[in-house]
């Protein structure tokens, strides 16, 4: 391993980490703005032009707040919870290919931290680890509401993970690879997977909403029943970490959806652009396109949140087990049969 490789990867990791934190920070602002616009309001507009410094003010507020640890809480786990939530939210970005490789001199720099051949499984594992932060926090708070919320989060994640996994299997039948890099490269130009797997995409997206605990599946934070949910007892920056982790999760799942179904950094006419803009600018344009897709998904997340009311718990379970799983299995069967017919058995 040469030193340039280490530098290259460290720089890439720092940039991705910084970008995901920045996007999470401004997602809080965007969320409030989108909510306001959808409700004929203005949203935050006092801090700086158009309220652009609102996230900074909110972050500062979080840091300045008094830190309260409940007397009967399990101190160590109470501290671990938000950290774990943040960690699992952040490490998901490691396998996402952000762009086609950049060529500087004779060195080819892939815009992906690591291209492991089970990238899809890794994402899947990290996403399911995400619920541990919520569970540990909810349990350590020693509060019935938090515990209920943690249980809800766990059962919801387990239920929806099955449907998510099944919808991914159908995708694997189409792409034939678990490496995210290869999945993206098979979607060159216009051949995005969403065109081959529309049902799979809808199922995956619904499950992604449930996995990130976003509305209409935000039962773990359902205020009317559970006060604040798993972060009822949290204050100061620990609360900030939980809220932040939710937005990073949203960013990661938007990136995964864009990678798996919407072609990642591929866009129509990319060959012409790549040939005409050179080995550095060309891939970066692809990255920009990728981010536009991600932002569109994040906007969609917010749009849905401010439109659809929360599911009741039994409706949530009904949807997960009796609707999504059978549909996902049917999707696998149909996909498999069609592929078998096309390839002549």
């Amino acid at each position: 391993m040469d030193i340039a490789f280490v530098i290259e990867k460290s720089v890439l990791v720092s940039i991705i980490f910084g970008i995901s934190l920045l996007i999470a920070m401004y997602s809080t602002y965007a969320e409030r703005k989108v909510a306001a616009f959808l409700q004929d309001r203005l949203g935050p507009d006092r801090a700086g032009p158009f309220g652009m410094f609102q996230p900074l003010a909110d972050g500062l507020k979080m840091f300045m707040k008094e830190e309260i640890v409940p007397a009967n809480a399990s101190k160590w786990l109470f501290m671990v919870g938000p950290g774990l939530a943040m960690l699992t939210a952040c490490i998901g970005t490691a396998v996402i290919p952000w762009g086609s490789p950049i060529t500087i001199g004779d060195r080819i720099i892939p815009l992906q931290v690591t291209d492991i051949n089970v990238g899809l499984l890794y994402i899947f594992g990290v996403v399911s680890l995400g619920v541990y932060g919520v569970m540990i926090g909810g349990w350590a708070s020693n509060n019935k509401y938090s515990l209920l919320s943690a249980i809800r989060a766990a059962s919801q994640n387990i239920s929806y993970e099955i449907a998510m996994g099944l919808s991914i299997i159908a995708l694997l039948l189409v792409t034939g690879s678990m490496s995210l890099k290869e999945i993206v490269e098979t979607q060159h130009g216009w051949r995005w997977n969403v065109l081959y797997q529309p049902l799979g995409f809808v199922l995956f997206m619904i499950c992604a909403f449930a996995e990130t605990n976003r509305a209409p599946f935000d039962l773990p934070e359902c205020e009317t029943e559970l006060i604040g949910g798993y972060h009822t007892e949290y204050s100061s920056m620990k609360l900030g970490f939980y809220l932040f982790a939710e937005y990073i999760n949203m960013f990661v799942s938007a990136a995964v959806m864009a990678t798996l179904y919407f072609g990642g950094y591929n866009y129509p006419g990319m060959d012409w652009v790549l040939a005409n803009t050179g080995p550095v600018i060309g891939p970066l344009i692809g990255t920009a396109v990728f981010f536009i897709k991600i932002f569109a998904f994040i906007f969609f997340f917010m749009w849905v949140r401010w439109t659809i009311p929360r599911f009741r718990y039994d409706q949530l379970m009904h949807l997960g087990w009796k609707v999504l799983i059978p549909l996902a299995i049917a999707n696998i069967v149909v996909t498999a049969v069609v592929i078998a017919v096309i390839e002549g058995f």
Binding site: A36, Q39, D40, R41, L42, I308
Partner: protein, 166 residues
């Protein structure tokens, strides 16, 4: 229970159709409704910078008027304080000195005139009671403040600014 009116509305619960059970069409409709609001003009008024237009008979902050020569009209008769249902007005009367002839119109004037804006209900009865047309509720909204004592407005805040003398 016996129905209270002769009107009778039978609620029939139909089983959901396939499209209704699929949720997605309804969700798409909901999304399109919220999106149409996204592009609507917002109802918010940025208050301290922009003020909403009031109707012509809006009753806001009081002002003590001057006559056409710039003299204070109030003669401290106390009718406004008497008529005030919230007992928000207090005043102390004083006798005009000969050299103050062009400051006060009448021989008796209010040396202290205070309105407690926290008590005032902006009913406009003081305006109606005043025989000298000296008080009107034609000002803006009373601004917010931190201390109770700052809501007791004296003559410094209530009296109209003096006319520009030639």
């Amino acid at each position: 229970m016996e129905p209270l009116t002769s009107k009778k509305k039978v609620l029939e619960q139909k089983p959901l159709t396939l499209a209704e059970r699929m949720y997605l069409p309804a969700i798409a409709k909901g999304l399109s409704i919220t999106m149409s609001h996204f592009f609507k003009k917002e109802a918010t008024i940025r208050y301290p910078e922009v003020e909403r237009e009031f109707s012509t008979n809006f009753r806001g902050m009081h002002s003590l008027k001057r006559d056409e020569e710039g003299r204070e009209r109030c003669t401290a008769c106390g009718l406004c304080a008497l008529s005030c249902p919230a007992e928000a007005i207090t005043m102390i009367a004083a006798e005009r000195k000969p050299e103050e002839k062009d400051i006060y119109r009448e021989e008796k004037y209010a040396s202290v005139y205070e309105i407690n804006m926290l008590r005032c209900i902006f009913c406009g009865l003081c305006e109606e009671a005043c025989p000298k047309e000296a008080i009107y509720l034609d000002g803006p909204i009373v601004p917010s403040d931190y201390l109770r004592k700052d809501f007791i407005y004296g003559k410094d805040k209530l009296v109209e600014p003096p006319l520009n003398k030639k």
